[in-house]
Amino acid sequence: MAKFGDGDVKPLFSKAPPLSLKVLVFVVLSLALMFMDQRLDNLQTMRLALSAIAQPVRWIADFPQSLSSLGDYFESREQLRVENRALRRQQLVLRAKVERLQSLQAENRRIRALLQSAEALKQRVLIAGVLAASPDPYRHYIMLNKGSLDGVYAGQPLIDSHGVMGQVTQVGLMSSVANLITDPNYGVPVEINRDGLQTIAEGGGDGQLRLPYLPTNADIRTGDRLVTSGLGGRYPAGYPVGTVTNVKHKAGQYFLSVRAKPSAHLHQGREVLLVWNDAAGGAGSAAKSPDTPTPAPLSAKP
């Protein structure tokens, strides 16, 4: 029982500060950190340092998934051939579509030029891998493997091939955290594709979106498609956000209760696109301008 000899037993006269004092110091420190992080939002350097320390932990946690992707090497030949054939066919169809799109794009550019619209058509994008989804089932965010070293900034919009996914809220050196549009604390300025009606879509907290600010006489139907309106300057305009699934008017309420299903496949896929919203402020510097350095959510609450 050497264990009890070397330090497990309470010495009679201890020189260390008393336990309650240490606890008090740490409690005050924690409270101060929380206040600074939540209200003043000036802990960026500390977050960067911590994220560098925590990075190896994340790599280890991600390791089983990298292992499972090794299994892809051993897919059978037949399966690959079938897939290859299907992809070839698909590519043919897509190429035809792209050619049509290009002509449309050219036409669009001409018309826009006529309108003297300064909207940028080319957008800078970056493909980021999803490291992890929120380990807490009550929060809606994902972690990405790109950080400030790759030019990611807080507030940057995030899309997949089907629509808007969310926005970056915290940036580390080589990783970042992005909130999904289904998070109840965030909102996206949207417009209805059919008639241009503008409103705000909030996260429902249950994988759905809510449109809480529509008056009862608003022209909206089940099946309407929502796209980003570009107002607020955070999300570029014209990306699909969701489809209206349910419009209800409860008697006596001033607002409609509208629900929508997000277009983006929020919990599928391992890759997302980070978009530089050049259209908002021009020349790519919009995001780095001093008035938008914080991950302030697009506050939807009036």
């Binding site: 037993v9 924690s30 950190l33 932990v57 380990p135 807490d136 009550y138 929060r139 955290v177």
Partner: protein, 158 residues
């Protein structure tokens, strides 16, 4: 206490805390994630009760800060919860060490509840309020896991 005698103590503590951090962020299906035990709490409280003169609230606070960064919560949330839990564990350790493992988990139940309550409370203050009963599932899973994990961690100590 010489420096040479000290080194081997910190190794198992560091390794187990690191493993707990990994287990706390490893991706799980949604159904399992709700009952994911508070691994870091379990490990920190274990070392608090086993080596109370060596592993104190500082270890708890630093592990909590790393956990905050990893889980994306407001900085200081898990640090505060772990500090308070660790304080409770240090107060209870003389009592707890007299119990067999399966009773230790129950004796430490108040500590686990305090930890989860602090998280729940700060989540509410910072605008992430959730109130389903499932929020308390980690308390149960941590308590149930104690009789298994404590003997396993004890092997590390030798």
């Amino acid at each position: 206490m010489s420096a040479a005698a000290r080194l081997p103590t910190w190794l198992p503590v560091g390794v187990s805390v690191l493993a707990a951090l990994v287990l706390s962020v490893i991706p799980l299906p949604a159904a399992l994630a709700a009952v994911r035990p508070a691994w870091v709490l379990l490990v920190v409280v274990f070392w608090n009760t086993t080596l109370p003169r060596r592993v104190g609230v500082s270890v708890a606070w630093i592990s909590g800060l790393l956990l905050d960064q990893l889980t994306g919560t407001v900085l200081g949330e898990h640090a505060l919860a772990l500090t308070l839990a660790s304080f409770g564990a240090l107060k209870l350790q003389e009592l707890v060490r007299t119990f067999p493992f399966w009773q230790q988990g129950l004796a430490l139940l108040p500590v686990f509840i305090v930890y989860e309550f602090v998280l729940f409370w700060i989540d509410g203050v910072t605008g992430h309020a959730v109130t389903p009963l499932w929020r308390w599932a980690p308390v149960a899973s941590t308590t149930l896991l104690w009789p298994v994990m404590a003997p396993a961690l004890q092997l590390l100590d030798r």
